[in-house]
Amino acid sequence: MELEVLSLFLQQGIASGLVTGSIYALLALAIVIVFRTTDVANFAEGEVYMASAYLAFFLIAIVSMPFWIAVPATVFAVLIGASLFQRVVLTQVAAAKGVSVNLVIATLGLSYVLKGIVRATGFGDTPRSFPSVMGEGSVTLGSASLTYLDLTILGAALAIMAVFFWMFNYTKIGRAMRAVGMNRRASQLVGINLGHVQMLVWGLSGAISAVAAILIAPKLLMTADMGVVVTLAFAAAIIGGFTSLPGAVVGGFIIGITENLVGLFVSSRAINVAPFVVIMLVLIFMPQGLFGGKVRVRKV
């Protein structure tokens, strides 16, 4: 391969990788905040993302709502739905027998339900394209070219991450979330309402997934199986150590760029298996991830 082509591929791969990586980062963020504050690995994350995309599609294309109403309506609806799931289902599962294998199975149940609803409505039968409000056209950075839509995705994702970090680090509710993540009982002792915080975290994670879905949907063909990208988000979360928020974001970008470079330099079939290889290698050689901190010794 000539040097010029190599440099073009490299630049384009990194630029496109940043765009898709920002979506993985958002989804990984949604997984990590839920895991930190409620100890639940949300295996329904991909289906929440998929169902949000279909809800937005339904509101815009079928109800013909204007874009600026449909987007907040979708995000709000998913926020409510996710917090209700936490409130109604997960608290009951935890109260009945608060163990993680049961909680994980409950989220798997949710993922089947959401996928089933989308299939039952008939929207999932054929791949659909999501309407885009961004104009056609592209910008050239160096020798990489990005469409206006790509730039919007990257910009919006970065803005949401910034808002989220501000909220998590500098506001009272963010401090409450971090406290719950560190020690549940102690956080209750200092007057934090555990139920409210956990519900809010699920709601926020749903909202982030909805935003990610709406951002990326115009670039994809929507199918009921589009939630499988969540394995990439899990890989991103694992690279970041599974409990670290900056780790999830960095992991998302690493996965996005790797995926695009593998696609350009190796083969598009290898893309599908790459995340699982990454998950296994990271867990075998670096079980704490890049940002996971030190191992804690458990006692009898």
């Binding site: 009951q92 294998v101 149940g109 089933g116 039952a120």
Partner: protein, 329 residues
């Protein structure tokens, strides 16, 4: 890492008491259930037709799969989400050996179990380095990677076209129908059931449960924790591989699509809904959830919603499994 120090016991919430100590009510109703099942299995081939026998065969295979999952998660307390991969390894090994050499059925099944078991041995080493959610995710990744191999190694597995098997044979008798295969599948499945009960009450079973309750305490009483954990994974994978071999006695076609994560989830659900940690629970869960998932095929458009709803409701209101209803005071 910010995590509360939780033990395996809290993660799975397994019953501490051995299943031997029960009240009389439970023994009577449990005994009645076993007798009813025994009568049903014997009478079945004489009163029903092909499809029902096919379902019965399938349920027996699920029972072996579920028992394998029971050993790793119920007895040894280790998360494993790659069961479908081991099952697939067993199916392909047995099927391909049968196609290539026409070996007798039993050898194919043993070979399937051994190949899967060796793979399980390798996965067992993972469990030495990680636990809980990390172990769950890495075994999940292994399962998905194996499904990718089944789908893409076209020269061997047939890839997305699936793979056809020749009918299996044993002692010069060729199994051409579900009905012909049923007695063999039944007997071999019963062998696995018996083996699991033997393991459950043996020193090995007690070592498994000791590791599940506390690795440190187990090590303190002289149990080789590493060896026990690796052995649990290998044994569980052997069960899954043998179940795959059993599958080839009555089915002549496999598609990688049916060897994905949802199969692992189905088996995990059987073990959890049956009542995690109990052998009879794993069997009962396999029969009940195997039937549910087969019956739901009749309503394809609502299949997923109903299945997901059942999972959620079980976790909300019957977390200790279906058998917690029997003989409850």
């Amino acid at each position: 890492m910010i995590m509360n120090p939780i033990t395996n016991r809290q993660v799975l919430d397994l019953p501490i008491r051995e299943s031997g100590a029960k009240n009389r009510n439970r023994i009577i109703s449990g005994g009645a259930l076993v007798v009813a099942l025994a009568v049903l299995t014997v009478v079945l081939p004489f009163v029903t037709s092909g499809y029902v026998i096919y379902i019965a065969n399938l349920l027996l295979v699920f029972t072996v799969l579920s028992l394998g999952m029971h050993i790793v998660i119920g007895e040894a307390g280790q998360f494993s989400l790659s069961h479908a991969a081991f099952y697939g390894l067993g199916i392909y090994t047995a099927g391909l050996l049968n196609n290539a050499f026409g070996l007798p059925l039993i050898l194919n099944i043993i070979a399937g179990g051994l190949v899967a078991g060796l793979c399980g041995l390798a996965i067992g080493f993972l469990s030495l380095r990680m636990r809980d959610i990390y172990l769950a995710l890495s075994t999940f990744a292994f399962g998905e990677a194996m499904q990718w191999i089944f789908l893409n190694w076209t020269p061997v597995t047939g890839g997305p076209n699936g793979l056809n098997f020749q009918p299996a044979h044993l002692f010069g008798f060729t199994f051409l129908s579900d009905k012909a295969a049923y007695p063999v599948v039944l007997i071999l499945a019963l062998v696995f059931v018996a083996a699991t009960f033997v393991i459950h009450f043996s020193t090995l079973g007690r070592s498994f449960r000791a590791v599940r309750e506390s690795e440190i305490a187990a090590a303190a009483v002289g149990i080789d924790v590493k060896r026990v954990k690796i052995f649990a994974f290998a044994l569980s994978a052997f069960y899954a591989g043998a179940a795959g071999g059993l599958f080839t006695t009555f089915s002549t076609f496999i598609h990688p699509e049916s060897l994905g994560f949802h199969t692992t989830i189905l088996v995990l659900t059987m073990v959890v809904v049956g009542g995690i940690g109990s052998v009879s629970g794993a069997i009962g869960g396999a029969i009940v959830f195997g039937l549910i998932s087969e019956l739901l095929r009749q309503v394809p458009s609502y299949q997923e919603v109903i299945y997901g709803g059942i999972l959620i409701l079980f976790m909300m209101y019957l977390p200790r499994g279906i058998f917690s209803l029997i003989g409850r005071r």
